[in-house]
Symmetry: C2
Subunit: 244 residues, 2 copies
DNA sequence: ACCTGAACACCGTTCAAGT
DNA sequence: ACCTGAACACCGTTCAAGT
């Protein structure tokens, strides 16, 4: 685990429609800081899931009244914005090495996937949030660096950078099916997979011939391999375009 | 818009860990039906968004007490399961035409994308839900039919079917950034895009040289084109694997 | 300047009681 | 069998009041 990228300081101009107030990092010897609140909230997110992430719960964690949080983070949405950017900061992107750009892209994708899986519910939180905090901006710049330094034309580089994220998120969503913090009473991941393929195999094969025929392939499907397959299709296809 | 696939009747065995009770479609001349509740809830989802989709709200829509819903759908999670499967049923999958399998895969992807964009918040609702209702099962079988009839080996077909969904969802999430039903006070989609690229262009170019350099490409990026690019990379790469 | 307590308008769900 | 009303334990947010 790399330490959180500290370079992108908070001295940037505020992104548009930002919902968290800009507060100096620490004034006196107060109990609360934006950072401390984000820490606590992220812990709740990881341990209890998004559904149990309430202002009151986070406040209880910090031995503070719920209303106290509002002075620092403005609103729950503001807090979620901060959490999102914090998590983005956890994935590190290598300095460009033009000869290895295809492999570097894959490394970024793998890193992104693994931090998503480390904070499974961040994916639900991220939907509808345009990533434009300091860490998000830094991340985008560094991925673009890999592509542009390798000679990928700008328009294609922009598309590739955005598609890469989409791909990783899409696959991660599929993988958290049944996993993550279940909405209610779902069984644990592997048991769910077993139940699922049992169910598929039990379906009437005259109505669903193909599904029943491949039920065992579904059961034995490996998420890592599938992800690598997609990365391969994407990156090698991209390289082909970049050449022409 | 095709009518909802009616073939997959409710005479299937219940999927594992189903959270909605199985109720006969309509007993007497009661006020409520599972179907009527799903209709109402889907309307609320489309018009007001997931955050405003509450049992009480749906019940108000139907001139019924909130508690009345529970007899029919068991829980809110059960209702969300039913909505999810209903929406899946809206995308239609063509009968296999082996000579055109690559184009058919793309058609399915485009159809899935457009029904997601027609029910933008369904994507948030879908996370963590394993699609295994009658419509989901039918959908999977028909996509597998296209692949297997074309001679794609089973293991690859299963991977391709799952990756195709992941890809579409991933791209759709990216597109609903700022759109959908905003968490709170975000600006409308195109205004948000303008604000975003203005912000990117305003960043210090010594710290984010690549991002600033391509800010205009980001502003003029076309979601449809990007989607088609990804489809092309995916499907043609897949065809290549299938041949070897 | 930073934080508390109480209040407002909501939630999902249960459960006795009605018909 | 189907539905209501009231209740329980929660929410996010605001706001006067304290220090």
């Amino acid at each position: 685990m790399p330490e959180r990228a500290a370079a992108s300081g908070s001295d940037l101009p505020p992104p548009p429609w930002s919902r968290a107030p800009q507060r100096p990092p620490r004034r006196r010897r107060d109990l609360l800081t934006q950072e401390a609140i984000v820490d606590a909230a992220l812990a709740v997110l990881d341990e209890d899931g998004l559904d149990l992430l309430s202002m009151r719960h986070v406040a209880r964690t910090l031995n503070v009244s719920a209303a106290a949080l509002y002075w620092h983070i403005g609103s729950k949405d503001g807090l979620l914005d901060l959490i999102f950017d914090r998590v983005i900061g956890e994935v590190d992107v290598p300095d460009p090495d033009p000869g290895r750009w295809q492999e570097q892209l894959k490394e970024v994708a793998r890193g992104t996937r693994s931090t998503i899986l480390a904070h499974r519910d961040v994916i639900r939180l991220s939907i509808g949030r345009i990533p434009m905090g300091p860490h998000a901006v830094r991340h985008a710049d560094r991925v673009l660096a890999i592509l542009r330094t390798a000679g990928v034309p700008d328009a294609l580089a922009v598309a590739a950078q955005q598609l890469l994220i989409s791909i990783v998120i899409g696959v991660a969503i599929d993988e958290t099916g049944g996993g993550g913090h279940p909405p209610a009473d779902q069984p644990p991941p592997h048991e769910a997979a077993a139940l699922a393929s049992d169910y598929l195999a039990s379906l009437p094969s005259d109505r669903f011939p193909h599904l029943v025929a491949v039920a065992d392939h579904i059961a034995s499907a490996n998420a890592d391999e599938r992800f690598e397959l997609l990365l391969d299709l994407f990156v090698s296809g991209l390289a082909q375009r970049a050449r022409s």
